[in-house]
Symmetry: C2
């Protein structure tokens, strides 16, 4: 009948309505409002609860299915999927890694190893659509869960137009949060996926001995299509479960 655990208040500037519904439902799922394997309310019930069109509910549900959180069965309903305690992420969704780690019940962390402003290199200049010689911000970071490294990230940011204050925040804290402050939230990314084994990637004590990673080579874009960041994130094989729901 009613929306449990917490009210739903569609808000300005929090993304599309369907994404707001999706995020609300995701929280309800991750807080275990429904047991694993059990059925969530039907689309018609959700339409009533959230007071939105059915297509909007469906878009949200499809997205949750792509994240591996629910399993939709034609003519029957949508069921909570099994997703133990491993940190699971749907690949087609652009989300903060730290946010995902937190939602999955682990303690996220971030260690900045290097952050420097220097002229852009040729390949990155093309990807960021800026002129050679312009300054960029280069970052090397490690992302941790419960103190253990899950990924190493090497990124190049287009900082033209950003204030010193914002650049400082990016260099020390969360990139996404700092960019959000100045309305420069990345909304999409094109990624290439590779397997890589190298002893040159990463640093520190919790660097995996075998040096095996799932590499996401990506460029992030703002709403207006401007590239804002390009680089590679190396996920330590086995510490992060990437899933993908494939359809015809």
């Amino acid at each position: 009948m009613s929306i449990a655990t917490q009210e739903f208040h569609p808000a300005e500037g929090r993304g599309s309505l369907s994404n707001q519904v999706r995020d609300h439902l995701r929280q309800r799922i991750l807080r275990q409002e429904w047991e694993s394997g059990s059925k969530i309310p039907s689309e018609f019930e959700l339409v009533n609860d959230y007071q939105v069109a059915r297509v909007t509910i469906r878009t949200a549900l499809r997205s949750l299915e792509a994240q591996g959180l629910i399993d939709i069965r034609h003519g029957s309903g949508a069921y909570i999927a099994n997703f133990g305690t491993s940190i699971r992420a749907g690949l087609q969704e652009l989300r903060s890694i730290s946010e995902t780690i937190k939602e999955m019940g682990h303690r996220p962390g971030m260690v900045h190893r290097k952050s420097e402003i220097r002229p852009v290199m040729a390949g990155d200049a093309e990807k960021l659509q800026i002129d050679l010689g312009e300054n960029i911000l280069y970052l090397e970071r490690a992302i941790t869960a419960d103190g253990k490294v899950v990924a190493f990230s090497y990124d190049t940011l287009n900082i033209t137009g950003l204030s010193q204050d914002v650049i400082k925040k990016i260099s020390s804290g969360s990139i996404f949060k700092a960019l959000a402050m100045v309305e420069k939230h990345p909304v999409r990314a094109m990624s290439e996926i590779h397997a890589i084994k190298s002893a040159k990637i990463g640093w520190g004590a919790s660097r995996p001995p075998q040096g095996l990673y799932l590499q996401l080579m990506q460029t992030h874009f703002l709403r207006d299509g401007t590239p804002i960041m390009t680089g590679s994130t190396y996920f330590v094989e086995g510490r992060f479960q990437f899933i993908i729901h494939r359809t015809i």
Copy 2:
């Protein structure tokens, strides 16, 4: 104005209308009806050309964007993306690998190394939702492009209810084609993605010396939700370009 290169005839049994439109547009793109970087017709023009609703056109275009074939810019239009000659595949789309290789202008091939009927093992029984002791079809295949191996595949098929004839076809030719004959087309798959390095994977002369692969551990499902096949495909790192379009 009109639909170039070839007529569009929506047909029964060829999937949803939006997928038919998507496939028709994909062919037009891959046949280079438009130059790289140039603009394709607007949504309103396509609505007129294909005589379908705008939402249907949009669904098709979004799918092509996810495949990395076009680049959609708000307020401006959809443009043909750059995708050289490398074999590129969008991960979220469930397609025949051979079909993708062919469409990208290469010569696909398949080498069956092993195919045997034997009792199912514990892990696979659970994934295929069948009882322990039931017979399955186990396959080991190599997928080639221009004679060079791009992937090794180890799969277990649920063959309950399949005729000897169909099983024989599966064992020697294309799984998808054989299953399509008996209306058992897989329509979706849940995949886990891993990086793996192992000398035990693959066989033959064109096995990569470094043994580095992108592993897709997947289970395929029929339209009614029944699992039909489970297994792993190991893509030789560097010979297949997997991309993914990520959005908020």
